[in-house]
């Protein structure tokens, strides 16, 4: 899962009401997923409800390749 990280420094609002910084975006089980700054999957009561911003590790073309496979990011 960590090998698929394609974005860093994501700022996320989670279901527990906490805004988390330094998160990552990756692919998990064929879908987009977010990791906290400890590399832990944000899910359940920590599920991401809003994405405020972040840094893509890849170029727009590489990002397009990811989106082509897994669908729009909707962020």
């Amino acid at each position: 899962m960590n090998d698929d990280i394609f974005g860093d420094d994501f700022r996320l609002v989670c279901a527990d009401g906490v805004t988390r910084e330094g998160c990552s975006i990756t692919i998990s089980d064929g879908a987009y997923a977010y990791l906290d700054n400890q590399g832990q999957l944000l899910s359940g009561d920590r599920a991401v409800t809003q994405v405020l911003g972040g840094s893509f590790a890849v170029t727009p073309r590489e990002l397009a390749t990811i989106v082509r496979e897994y669908g729009p990011l909707n962020i």
Binding site: G53, V58, L63
Partner: protein, 682 residues
């Protein structure tokens, strides 16, 4: 080299004119001044050939060097004909660049050197980029390779590229090349043809110091994309397609380590991040083709998309868990590969590279680029003009050695002439001498003569020439004349030579004597040279200096009779096409001056049809009785050198000849002056 055989002087008994310095040239120059010459039409190759800035011969070296010349399709490939003999000869060549690439960020440069197979292989100590010896370049010393494939070999295997390094290819659609450099001031990433090409991508980090936690960052609102064909802005379409509603909140990162996966930081200076390797492949392998509908679908177009990034910043602490890096991240340089086939080193039978046949190519692998400031994101791929020393030029049949069946490098003009005739299929080394359109019986003798007098050909033929014109024009530089006699061409020495093949400074015996008895009445004509061509001059001759230890340039020598003042008019002779020896240049100029001094007039007359072996350049004796009404009755004797003989159908031979005076001891005054005259040379 391209040739035309048209306009050749041929036909029984017709003799090519000798080249003279003086009247003809000045008259032509005058005509050009008063008549506007029409432009040359549909002949860009000739116009290119004529441009002195396209010359492959070094003329002057700028301190900062000249920018490298590039070859265009259709340009003339030169012929490098030379062979160093002792300290004389070889040539310095400034070839154009025909193809350039970058393989794993090592520059690859391909230069066509010569038509034919060059014998010697250039070395780094005799190869310069601008004013710098390649051997002295910083870092790894560039390597030099030479490639050649015969026309026959290429004909039997047209898809076999002679350039076998595997890093640069014959197919012009296959290449590894440097593209954009990511830097804070911005850059443009041009769309690529993924539909027609197998591809790869790689990125080199440049700058200085520690950059292991440094990356470039560009926010989405500083990103713009447009259709490379229609120009339509497709930025919004892209963000909509990928599902990003506020581009300004997102950043595109470059130089991240790794490209994908758990963040480490930034890549160190000199790191190469290669796409095919990340995908599990190795350098040299390529990604499969991809339709543009897929590759550029997110931008809503089937055309390549160009992308512009502006207002970038450097983040020196990308990974906040680690200290900020302290170096300077100057840029991230992109190198891409493109090839219509998956393995450009083995493109398959669908390709025809026979236009690479019979040309010697030079390949340089190494960074000979102009100096760049990597801290500022500079990565120049331009170079200064390459200058390369060729010790031994193309392999030709060695008529000069009496062994035309074998080939090797040569500096003999007669070998060059025969090679040129072989190119246009007028001669080949296997043709029986009697069937050859050129008399080969005296070539070894004349080659020995040329060696004895130090008249050796070391030069570059870089223009499309008429071979007959070329050989006729150049022959006098070697004290030879190219003549047509008895239905074929032949070389003759301009001056009588001894049995030991030296200029003959001994008493001569005329080959024939003509008197009133065999000069047809009323046919004798004498014409004196103009006063202008008789006055004292000095001659400035240009030739090429060739030393191995530095790039050879054009030089001049000025020669005059020692008795002549130094303010007499100067005439110029250009021997830069063939001469690399001061002694050779001096010798030819001495011949010109001696002939100008001693040969004062020319004659022509008719005689009953000659069936003897008398031929052009033979010395004849004219003995005529001079009588007039006041009782003058004396015998006039003069010697002449035949310049032409024309046998006419009515049984008459017309002879033209130039004055060739002998002294009281029957020694040629011209030859004696050349051998023993007193000249001032500066």
């Amino acid at each position: 080299m391209t040739f035309s055989a048209s306009g050749s002087k041929s036909g029984r008994g017709r003799i090519s004119n000798e080249v003279r310095v003086g009247d003809d040239f000045s008259q032509k120059a005058h005509e050009k001044k008063v008549h506007q010459e029409p432009s040359k039409l549909v002949n860009i190759a000739q116009r290119s050939d004529d441009a002195v800035e396209k010359s492959k011969k070094p003329r002057a070296i700028k301190i900062e060097g000249e920018e490298q010349k590039t070859a265009a399709a259709g340009d003339t490939v030169p012929i490098v004909f030379c062979k160093r003999d002792g300290n004389v000869g070889g040539v310095w060549l400034q070839p154009p660049l025909s193809k350039q690439g970058s393989y794993n960020f090592v520059g690859i440069f391909l230069y066509p050197l010569s038509q034919g197979e060059i014998t010697s292989t250039p070395v780094t100590t005799n190869t310069y980029v601008g004013p710098d010896q390649i051997q002295a370049r910083s870092g790894t010393v560039p390597t030099i390779n030479k490639y050649y494939s015969t026309a026959a070999a290429m004909a039997s295997s047209p898809s076999s590229c002679p350039i076998t390094s595997g890093k640069i290819f014959c197919d012009y659609n296959s290449n590894y090349f440097i593209a954009e450099t990511v830097k804070t001031s911005g850059f443009v990433l041009y769309g690529r043809d993924f539909a027609s090409s197998h591809t790869d991508n790689a990125f080199l980090t440049i700058g200085s110091g520690d950059t292991t936690n440094s990356v470039f960052e560009f926010t989405g609102d500083n990103y713009q994309a447009w259709d490379s064909v229609t120009g339509t802005d497709v930025t919004a379409t892209f963000f909509s397609s990928i599902g990003v509603s506020d581009p300004s909140s997102y950043i595109f990162t470059f130089n991240r380590n790794p490209r994908q996966g758990t963040l480490i930081g930034g890549r160190a200076i000199g790191t190469i991040d290669r796409g095919i390797v990340l995908a599990g492949g190795v350098l040299g392998q390529l990604f499969a083709k991809q339709s543009h509908a897929v590759a550029y679908g997110e931008w809503g177009t089937t055309n390549p998309v160009n992308e512009k990034f502006t207002n970038g910043t450097v983040n020196n602490q990308k990974n906040t868990s680690n200290p900020a890096s302290t170096g300077t991240l100057g840029g991230e340089v992109a190198e891409y590969a493109a090839s219509p086939v998956s393995d450009p080193t083995n493109p398959g039978s669908g390709f025809d590279f026979t236009d690479y046949a019979d040309i010697t190519f030079l390949e340089i692998q190494g960074n000979i680029y102009d100096e760049s400031n990597h801290d500022q994101g500079e990565y120049k791929v331009s170079t200064r003009q390459l200058s390369v020393y060729i010790d031994e030029g193309i392999k030709v049949p060695l008529y000069s050695a009496g062994t035309p069946g074998t080939t090797g490098a040569s500096n003999q003009f007669v070998d060059l002439a025969m090679y040129l005739f072989s190119i246009i299929k007028r001669s080949d080394a296997t043709t029986a001498a009697v069937a050859s359109p050129i008399d080969t019986s005296n070539l070894q003798t004349l080659a020995t003569f040329n060696s004895n007098i130090g008249a050796l050909f070391n030069g570059i033929i870089e223009q499309s020439v008429n071979i007959i014109d070329f050989v006729s024009t150049m022959a006098p530089f070697f004290l030879l004349q190219f003549v047509s006699e008895n239905g074929r061409y032949a070389f003759r020495p301009l001056l009588p030579i001894t049995a030991g093949n030296q200029i003959d400074g001994t008493a001569l015996t005329a080959s024939a004597t003509f008197t009133e008895a065999n000069i047809l009445p009323g046919s004798y004509q004498k014409q004196y040279d103009s006063a202008d061509s008789r006055r004292d001059i000095q001659i400035s001759v240009a030739f090429r200096e060739v030393k191995k230890e530095r790039v050879g340039l054009q030089k001049t020598r000025t020669v005059r009779f020692s008795t002549v003042s130094n303010d007499v008019p100067v005439e110029q002779i250009d021997m830069t096409d063939c001469c690399t020896s001061e002694a050779h240049a001096d010798l030819y100029v001495k011949y010109l001056l001696a002939k100008r001094k001693h040969s004062t007039h020319s004659i022509s007359f008719e005689t009953p049809l000659l069936t003897t072996s008398l031929t052009v350049n033979d010395v004849i004796k004219i003995q005529r009785q001079r009588k007039n009404s006041v009782g003058d009755d004396r015998t006039e004797i003069e010697h002449y050198q035949i310049t032409s003989m024309r046998h006419q159908t009515e049984g008459v031979t017309v002879i033209s000849a130039i004055h060739f005076p002998l002294d009281a001891s029957n020694i040629s005054e011209i030859s004696n002056e050349v051998l023993s005259g007193s000249f001032t040379v500066i």
